[in-house]
Amino acid sequence: MAELNTGDGGGGKGGKVRSKKQNSKVDLTAMVDLAFLLITFFMLTTSLSKPQSMDLSLPNKDDDPNKKTEDTKVDENRTMTVMLGGDNKMVYYMGLLATPKVGPKDIAYGKDGIRRELLKQKKNVLAYSAALGKPKNGIIVIIKPTKKSNYRNLVDILDEMAITGVETYAIVPEFTPEEAKVIDKK
């Protein structure tokens, strides 16, 4: 073994070897720190790994084609139709397509696009309903996903409904020829 003791050459006063007093306690602070760090990690990952989910309720589908369905008449001033096209595009209009109050206009997803418009129209409709004496009648949004639209578009638009607080909306994948023309042109 390599000798590292260099202080031995002094002759040694009295020749007494003083052994250093060893502390029997180990400092556990770092170990506890580590343990708590890991606890935090495992606690958070167990509860955060659960996926999020969005509830979706669809109206009852009627199997019986002979049964006459009663059409619910809604005020066209309250309806907003949003058509989801391909390439993350969408077109919206208020009222009827033949005599639209607003649009049909192209609009983008997100905060500055559809959300601003939804909030604006929601306010307009509420003011309109209040003038008629029925302040509880809010906006009705009809979502029409085309065959080209993808799942993200659908979730995004449903999400906008949740964010803007639109309570009445429907997913209707049926298009009149006029509507198909408008969405295909884009």
Binding site: M31, A35, S53, D55, L58, Y151, L154, D156
Partner: protein, 203 residues
Amino acid sequence: MAKIKMKKKSTSTDMTAMCDVAFLLLTFFILTATAKVPEALPVDMPASVAISKLPDTDLAIITVGKGKVFFDIKGREVRKRTLEGMGAKYGIEFSEEDKTKFALMDDFGVPITGLKQIIDMKAADRTKANQPGIPLDSLDNQLKEWLLISRRATIDLDDKELQIAIKGDAKEEYPKIRKIMDILQDQKINSFNLVTGKRGRDF
């Protein structure tokens, strides 16, 4: 003169007990945490602001991605019962070992005739097996049968209605999703969950 001896106070506290507790908790959390198994069909979920979480039990997840449909049921007993039911329906015999293995595995996407092969594989091989998806055309709608039988099994075992969640890939086209929704609605399931990722309100 009497010398007053000051007791020397140690500045360091005894950490032993704290360390014990910390490791006890750590062990608990490690053991309760479930290891994440790679999914047979990885999908990129669209994000939403929804904050409700999916339940752990009595849940069926339909995964849609790349044009394929995979199916997963949570809860071992329900899985066993469902496999029994499916075997009886399609005339395929599943052994007790098959059922136990099936109870422990995750999502799958094969026609019922190929299920035995998937059950016999190791967990790591299942993800690489290139499963073709569950058939759901009108002639051979196996997804419908899976749903029906698993719902029945849940009612038998837990006296609860099975919850259905759709986990779709963001790029999946709408008609495919619509088809799944139609199958659900044909069974009068009008309320279900869409599994999404998470995002803030200000995206």
